[in-house]
Amino acid sequence: MGIVSPGFQGRPRSSAPDLPPGQYLTEDFPVLSAGPTPRVPTDTWEFVLTTETGAEHRWSWAELMNLPQDTPTVDLHCVTRWSKLGTTWQGVSLDTLFDAVDTDARYALAHSYGGYTTNLPLDDLRGGRAWVVHTYDGGPLPAEHGGPARLLVPHLYLWKSAKWVRGIRLLVDDRPGFWETAGYHDYGDPWREQRYQGD
């Protein structure tokens, strides 16, 4: 327990839901990003998986749409402390994308249109826990939430779910991405409150 601040009670929290520590519930969908919202037309959009040997696997928008689709319903946890429960998405499981990929890499660096990057262990992108999603709440994913397509890795803080995702580079050695270089945690498990480096 921290140092008590005299006179602080906190909000009444009788019906507090089961949230990760330090999170509060929000109903709206806040927007957080480091710069302006990129607008990426779907006719030029592509997603590129690059292995540690430099082999490239590419998908156009039409090719992505033709892959088997998942409809995950997941909770989101943002490092800025809001959580949003029961969000519904549609997209392609990364397991599907990795099917044809031969790799011994253990790490991944996701990168976005606009230049944003974020790192994750490759295992966290597999096993039915991560998607490239293009539909939110039944409609096309709005640009401010990362449309036309974003990564969705709901078991990690939301900055790992790179918006405007453009590709994933597989790496033998871990390399920090944009926020991680700025002091945020390399892994980012909300249940362990891994917000900043050293948590």
């Binding site: 601040s5 602080f8 906190g10 957080l32 002091g183 480096q197 948590d199």
Partner: protein, 251 residues
Amino acid sequence: MAAPTTGRVAPLTWRVARLVERRIETPTAQTLLLDVPGWPGHLPGQHVDLRLTAPDGYQAARSYSLAGPADGERIEVTVQRVPDGEVSPYLVDTWTEGDPVEVRGPVGGWFVWRTDETAPVLLVAGGSGVVPLMAMVRARRAAGSRTPFRLIYSARTPDDVIYADELRRRARDDQGLDVAYVYTRQAPDGWRGEPHRIGLADVNSHGWPPDLEPLCYVCGPTGFVETVADLLVGLGHPTRRVRTERFGPTG
């Protein structure tokens, strides 16, 4: 968007801060001066997390921008009271000199301005979004920098302008600093123009043309930041030169 150049940073620890002094800025905003033993220093634009703990162990934490440049173990934040908020009313109304609050930081390595930068700077603030931008204005002055600065500040009414006196003084004395205001609800007497939300004309006439390759910093409520950043990109500013900080879920 280039990666920030801060490199790997040391783990951030919670430190105990005590309130030293408060300054009333507007009817709803106050500047709080805190004493933080062991404070490592910071760059203008970075923020801290403040954490409150209730007697039953419950904790709530929120982010607040650092309002001034580094000054030893003294830091300052400017907090706008959000009606029925959990943390900001405590900081503004209840927190008493000498009482502890936990602080962690500095956080953020992208929305920062370094005093050795020479590119012209455009600052666009909505409401309390002026706080980190003011830290940049103050750091510029403290470093004797001559980098040209323009600040466009959108407030509801003249009474809602944070740092009003200091901004008036600096616009007069700090050479190369221009300050322009946009009022959304009520403009001062003698003001030319009607209250309005910031738009293309404001950004166009009070900003820099893209060919001067300015660095643009936009801070405020989410909707405000979204609007201004889109306007800047529409005017031809490259996205990597437009840095944004979004303050909250509403706006």
